[in-house]
């Protein structure tokens, strides 16, 4: 859209227009410096920067250390360390307005159960419930973006349980919620309650705490769509590689592995590093952000993400095999991912101190305009094998990713009557190496698109041309059209 088209568009509201106008202004600058080869890959769509803009001036994802903020307050914001739950909730609502991201809304709102639990005895039980409800409503109204993401767990807390109870009552797409789940730490009762809520409202999703802790340490968060990053850090950028398009460039599998793939991954890293460098050195983000000045973020926890998607089609094109149905296909998948990881690890990741100096690998879960190409390393929608084979196949692929990978498993309504059975499957998935397990029911009012949720009724409103408060509804509605989101195989039970 050009500037006039943005201004005169009747489908978007004022705030969204302002966001798009800022983007248009940014894009009057030329793109960060790239080699000719890499520019070609971007133009062809083999690489895609997900419309991040030509001249990035803030990291894509930021995960502030909210615990530190609550402990120490903020000089910049003029906030004293909160003494009770009222002050804590107020302090949180304030800082959210100051956390930049690619969308303009904070993609991470913190480990809210642990943060609030510390204050829960400063007020009565009823007040605590009211305050948590007020905070959730405030987040939903002032940050109307389904990438806004909250974390809870692994341990059960009163605040954590109240958050889920309230969310079940409110039934809103925002905020997204992840439960850090670990059989050793999460009580069975809490896990069951969380699964029950997830079957009803599509959240929280279950994060394999043990696996991710092993990679990033205890201090990690889940932000936006399944991005696992260090708290007090984030990701400068996410540029993704379309493996299907890359495969179309190759003569055969050998040519793909020996020539095409190393070449495009090299370019992928080039774009990422150029963008990260621009944020740090040209936009001087860390020198200007109070979050950095006050230690709520630290460049040492940051990284960048190399996303991949379309593995299903890539394997199908090069070998004729179908992931999830042919055992051999999984082996090819693993080989391809190992190759990608190998190339990434041979290159220094600019400012990627949070992941040992290398760019993080991420299975990108798709965007609304993707057509005929499957998200991340998932199995093509509608072609999913039995849930057991799906989990086993994807479990083997998930282990290659250190900054986020996931899939969505759709159950039919009988699951609601047998939560023990659902937990059994989740536990088996965790054992099989699944890093993020999102669940949803086929009749749910909240539909999980890629990693975020939208309300079925909002999608219908959008399709009728009404202006919607949440920016992600547009993305969701387009995605449903283009990606056959609603055709995901339902785990139907007779």
């Amino acid at each position: 859209m050009n500037v006039f088209e943005i201004i005169s568009n009747t489908n978007i509201d004022y705030k969204e227009k302002k966001h798009l106008l800022a983007q248009a202004a940014e894009n009057t600058l030329s793109y960060v410096n790239l080699s000719v080869k890499t520019e070609k890959h971007l133009k062809k769509g083999i690489l895609c920067d997900i419309f991040e803009g030509h001249a990035p001036y803030r990291p894509r994802y930021i995960l502030p250390d909210y615990e530190k903020y609550i402990e120490k307050g903020s000089e910049y914001l003029g906030i004293e360390p909160p003494k009770d739950m009222y002050e804590a909730v107020n302090a949180l609502m304030i800082i959210y307005q100051y956390v930049p991201s690619i969308t303009g809304y904070p993609v991470y709102v913190g480990q809210l159960d642990y943060i609030l639990e510390k204050f829960i005895d400063t007020v009565s039980e009823k007040e605590a419930r009211n305050l948590i409800k007020m905070l959730l409503i405030n987040i939903e109204k002032t940050l109307p973006d389904a990438f806004v993401h909250m974390n809870i767990g692994p341990k059960e807390t009163r605040a954590g349980r109240t958050i889920l109870e309230m969310e079940r009552e409110l039934k809103k797409a925002v905020p997204n919620i992840s439960l850090k789940y670990c059989k050793d730490e999460t009580s069975p009762d809490f896990a069951k309650f969380a699964a029950e809520v997830a079957l009803e409202i599509g959240k929280p999703y279950f994060v394999n705490h043990k696996e991710i802790k092993n990679i990033l340490g205890e201090n990690y968060g889940v932000a936006s769509c399944y991005n696992t990053l260090k708290i007090g850090g984030g990701s400068y950028t996410l540029v993704r590689l379309n493996l299907k398009k890359a495969a179309q460039e190759a003569k055969d599998y050998k040519d793909f592995m020996d020539n095409v793939l190393p070449n495009v991954v090299d370019s992928l890293c080039e774009v990422i590093n150029a963008r990260a460098k621009f944020i740090v050195e040209e936009a001087k983000f860390f020198e200007t952000s109070f979050l950095a000045r006050e230690g709520l973020i630290d460049i040492n926890n940051f990284t960048s993400m190399a996303g991949v998607f379309g593995l299903y089609e890539c394997i199908e094109l090069l070998t004729g095999l179908k992931l999830g149905h042919d055992e051999e296909a999984t082996k090819y998948g693993e080989e391809i991912l190992e190759k990608i990881k190998g190339v990434i690890d041979s290159i220094e990741g600019y400012g990627c101190f949070g992941t040992n100096g290398k760019i993080g690998l991420h299975a990108q879960s798709g965007i609304d305009s993707d057509i005929d190409v499957t998200a991340g390393v998932r199995i093509k929608i509608g072609n999913e094998p039995s849930i057991y084979d799906q989990v086993k196949t994807e479990g083997r692929l998930h282990r290659h990713f250190n900054t986020g990978v996931s899939d969505i498993y759709i159950f039919d309504k009988t699951a609601k009557q047998n939560i023990d059975g659902v937990i059994k499957i989740i536990d088996a998935a965790m054992k099989s190496g699944i890093k993020v397990f999102a669940l949803n029911t086929s009749d749910s009012e909240l539909i999980r698109i890629t990693g975020y949720l939208v309300k079925r009724s909002d999608v219908e409103k959008y399709n009728r041309g009404e202006v919607i408060r949440e920016d992600t509804v547009k993305l969701g509605a387009e995605s449903i059209k283009n990606n056959k989101t609603l055709d995901r195989r339902v785990r139907e039970i007779e």
Binding site: S386, V391, G421, E494
Partner: protein, 279 residues
């Protein structure tokens, strides 16, 4: 040892506790008017009616029996519709070892297995063979979903080997039972009594059919009986649905929800939490 299996559902949340693999055995000793999977009732008589309606060539005759090609099947189920014998060309023979392998392949996802049908206990020896082998190699539990028409010998064998029973009681009144199923419920009630005295009777199921077994008195009788027999067996009240039904009952509407709720409330007074609602 070989068994006749109609189909296997790898992931079921409604056939016992937790996540279970449900194995539907072929063949039944009742002929319930409201049967939801009538194609499991009888064995194939090779009448070949199904061959005539299969549009994709998924069915053929080989070695004197119908051969079913899963890859060609589009799932239109016309073959099941035309079968006058309440059978299916899709059921198959499977070696117990092969079935055990299938089960153990997905052990980490499962709480256990459930044999259903048809009337699975008609193939008790096969079940025992499978269950013993599964238990030797895993901690999976085995449940039996039965209509209760089991002879003493088979019942005793099963009691000593499985972890739970789900028993269908079609009617408490023998006359109604005969009308609905074609057989007396004498043996069913006897077995209900026997099983209730073990710790294995996980669940009793009762399908509410308008005008047949839906008088509150009739259901209360069953609830009182269960209450008297033990303190743990759950009773699931299932509203009739015409889905899959092949007899004239297919024209009967789904069981009235308001009536269902009234019955549920009444029976709840007797069994409290042991009574389970079904959507």
């Amino acid at each position: 040892m070989k068994g006749f299996v109609n189909r296997i559902i790898e992931n079921s949340f409604i056939d016992g506790p937790g996540n279970r693999m449900a194995i539907f055995m072929q063949g039944c000793n009742m002929a319930c008017l409201y049967c939801h999977n009538p194609e499991t009732q009888r064995m194939c008589t090779l009448c070949k009616k199904c061959l005539e309606v299969c549009s994709t060539g998924a069915l053929s005759i080989e070695e004197g029996r119908i051969k079913y090609d899963r890859k060609r099947c589009i799932g239109c189920d016309k073959c099941l519709e035309v079968c006058l014998n309440f059978s299916s060309p899709k059921y198959f023979e499977i070696e117990s070892d092969e079935l055990v392998k299938l089960i153990l392949k997905n052990e980490i996802f499962l709480d256990g297995i459930t044999f259903s049908g048809g009337e699975c206990t008609l193939q008790t020896d096969f079940i025992i063979d499978v269950v013993k082998k599964v238990k030797n190699n895993s901690s999976l539990t085995a449940f039996i979903d039965t209509n209760g028409l089991i002879n003493d010998e088979n019942l005793n064998k099963l009691i000593s080997c499985v972890d739970g029973f789900m028993l269908d009681v079609k009617a408490v009144d023998d006359y109604i039972h005969r009308a609905l199923t074609g057989v007396s419920n004498e043996l069913v009630l006897k077995n209900l009594n026997i099983l209730a005295k073990t710790d294995l009777l996980y669940e009793v199921r009762y399908v509410l059919v308008e005008g047949y077994n839906d008088s509150i008195e009739e259901i209360k009788k069953l609830a009182e009986l269960l209450k008297e027999l033990n303190d743990y067996t759950r009773l699931v009240l299932i509203p009739f649905r015409p889905l899959g039904v092949k007899t004239h009952f297919r024209n009967m509407p789904s069981f009235n929800r308001v009536k269902y709720d009234i019955i549920f409330e009444e029976v709840y007074k007797i069994l409290k939490e042991r009574l389970i609602k079904k959507d």
